[in-house]
């Protein structure tokens, strides 16, 4: 099989729609186009039935008891907003304290920042060098005012999987709700809202080979029954929690994407892990001064976040321009700050600037992995040849002792 360029290795950012998903969506654009809220005719009933079937499929993937626990949204950012703001508002008489971690997605962190302005208190827990939060820290941070703990399932940059089951045990015992942004981890690592005592979970379709523009918030209906204040007012859709006409074709696709994962997740994860290890060893066996960011043990199977010391991340991405990856380098962000996730691990700014995130997914092949590994090795060697830092390192100069003229 011949190699097609460019190669997509940025599956944490998004994924293509699986053809099987698209196939199931198509009729809901064309002939079955009804509004799921129309109660008076077949078009509406048909759409509602399709939506409820999708809810069941989504619920099954995450171990939820009932499709009614799935509140459909436009995506995980909306789900995170709804969970945090909705809980903070609804339970404001009970307390105003929220606990989260410093490596959460911006959809959680920025929502917390806004809630702080509105009178909430937020504790941002640090993570260890491996990117994991210590459940004991969660335990210690809980006060009489705590209403919610929000910890992601797996990190979008470094792929670190958080100890949610241990955290869920604590939150359940202490009578505090647990929300998890589960976007990156569902269908890739163990996630079961019942077993893990998760009360709210944000999901999105486009990271699991479904369409962009649809997501869900799992909201537990029993033991405990979770209530939240709607953030979108209107026709009272989604049991009053999220008004707005349902995006039926997208929801159908989301359901199908979940169903595929439910059936294929174990074989798919094993395959991704083997591809990831192939990539990792082919790079690390041939290059010195290469560092993995985040835990190797508790990690998404398709994630490799790696720093190539003495080579700047964006410079390297330019050299491998036929491979779509992303970097924690400042140059790739509008803020010119290196990745806050890598900083939180204690990765120095130098190595953060040198980081590349490879995100492997369903349609990557061994040939692609080999091609990319070889290309990366070749280009890192070339860029090191023109890097003054590499030369200084080779000359035995400790870069930490150099007086840099920062600008």
């Amino acid at each position: 099989m011949s190699l097609q360029l460019p190669i997509f290795m940025d599956y944490h950012s998004t994924t293509p729609v699986d053809p099987r998903v698209l196939e199931e969506m198509v009729p809901y654009f064309l002939t079955k186009f009804g509004n799921a809220a129309s109660r008076s005719h077949k078009f509406g009933w048909e759409a509602e039935e399709a939506v409820d079937y999708a809810r069941e499929r989504i619920a099954r993937l995450i171990g939820a008891a009932d499709g009614k626990e799935i509140v459909l949204t436009s995506g995980a950012t909306e789900s995170d907003n709804l969970a945090l703001k909705g809980i903070a508002e609804f339970y404001k008489d009970k307390g105003n304290h929220i606990i989260t971690t410093v490596t959460e997605h911006k959809a959680v962190l920025d929502t917390c920042k806004r809630l702080e302005k509105e009178g909430c208190q937020v504790t941002y827990l640090d993570v260890g060098k491996d990117g994991r939060v210590d459940p004991d820290d969660v335990q210690k941070a809980i006060t009489a005012k705590t209403i919610l703990v929000s910890v992601m399932l797996a990190n979008n940059e470094i792929g670190t999987v958080q100890p949610l089951a241990a955290i869920g045990k604590i939150t359940r015992e202490r009578g505090v709700l647990l929300h998890s942004d589960a976007v990156q981890g569902i269908g890739k690592v163990e996630f079961d809202v019942q077993k893990m005592n998760v009360d709210l979970a944000s999901l999105t379709a486009h990271k699991i080979y479904g369409p962009k523009g649809v997501g869900a918030l799992y909201v537990r209906r029993s033991r405990p029954r979770v209530r939240l204040a709607a953030q979108m007012d209107g026709g009272g859709h989604e049991r009053g929690m999220r008004s707005g006409t349902l995006a039926v074709p997208l929801i159908v696709g989301f359901g199908k994407a979940c169903d595929i994962l439910l059936k294929e997740r174990h074989t798919e994860s094993a395959r991704l892990l083997s591809l990831r290890e192939r990539l990792r060893t082919r790079i690390m066996d041939r290059l010195d001064e290469v560092y993995i960011n985040g835990s190797m043990e508790h990690r998404l199977p398709g994630n490799l976040n790696i720093s190539f010391n003495f080579v700047e991340g964006e410079g390297l991405m330019m050299a491998i321009k036929d491979v779509a990856v992303s970097s924690g380098s400042a140059c790739t962000s509008s803020s010119l700050e290196p990745s806050y996730v890598l900083r939180a691990l204690g990765v120095g700014d130098e190595l953060a600037h040198s980081s590349i995130r490879f995100g492997l997914g369903r349609f990557n092949t061994e040939e692609e992995v080999d091609y990319v590994a070889d290309l990366v090795v070749e280009k890192v060697e070339r860029l090191r040849e023109i890097s003054p830092l590499w030369e200084m390192h080779k000359d035995g100069i400790d870069l930490k002792n150099v007086q840099w003229v920062a600008h």
């Binding site: 964006e314 380098s329 003054p388 920062a406």
Partner: protein
């Protein structure tokens, strides 16, 4: 963000990559930027007795625009007197390479690297004069 063709051209075929002997009194070395900021440029000049830059070399840790800016800088200063080279402004580099606003700091760094190499050369010259 797409790179300009000129940036890509310099990035793929950087001019004057290399190292000059730091200890040579006719060589000036400028090392600017910081690893923690994501770019470091080392620019070296070899100046003859007429004050003309006979050779220039660079090595850069940084993004494509930083590499291109330093490559262009070495190309421009070769054959110029140090007084002429000193007048090169970062805005000229921005214009030549079509750098977007977010990459202007790369050109600033290149200007600084030229000035820093010249300052080092002058310092060395005055020191060797003192010794005489």
């Amino acid at each position: 963000m797409a790179y300009s063709t000129k940036v890509i051209e310099h990035y793929e075929n950087p001019r004057n990559v290399g190292t000059l002997d730091k200890a040579d009194p006719s060589v000036g070395t400028g090392l600017v930027g910081a690893p923690a900021c994501g770019d470091v440029m080392r620019l070296q000049i070899k100046v003859n007795e007429l004050g003309v830059i006979e050779d220039a070399k660079f090595k850069t840790f940084g993004c494509g625009s930083a590499i291109a800016s330093s490559s262009l800088a070495t190309e421009w200063i070769k054959g110029k007197t140090i007084d002429e080279a000193e007048t090169i402004k970062n805005s000229q580099i921005v214009e030549e390479l079509n750098l977007p606003p977010v990459k202007i700091h790369c050109s600033v760094l290149a200007e600084d690297a030229i000035k820093s190499a010249i300052a080092d050369y002058r310092k060395k010259q005055s020191q060797s004069l003192d010794k005489r």
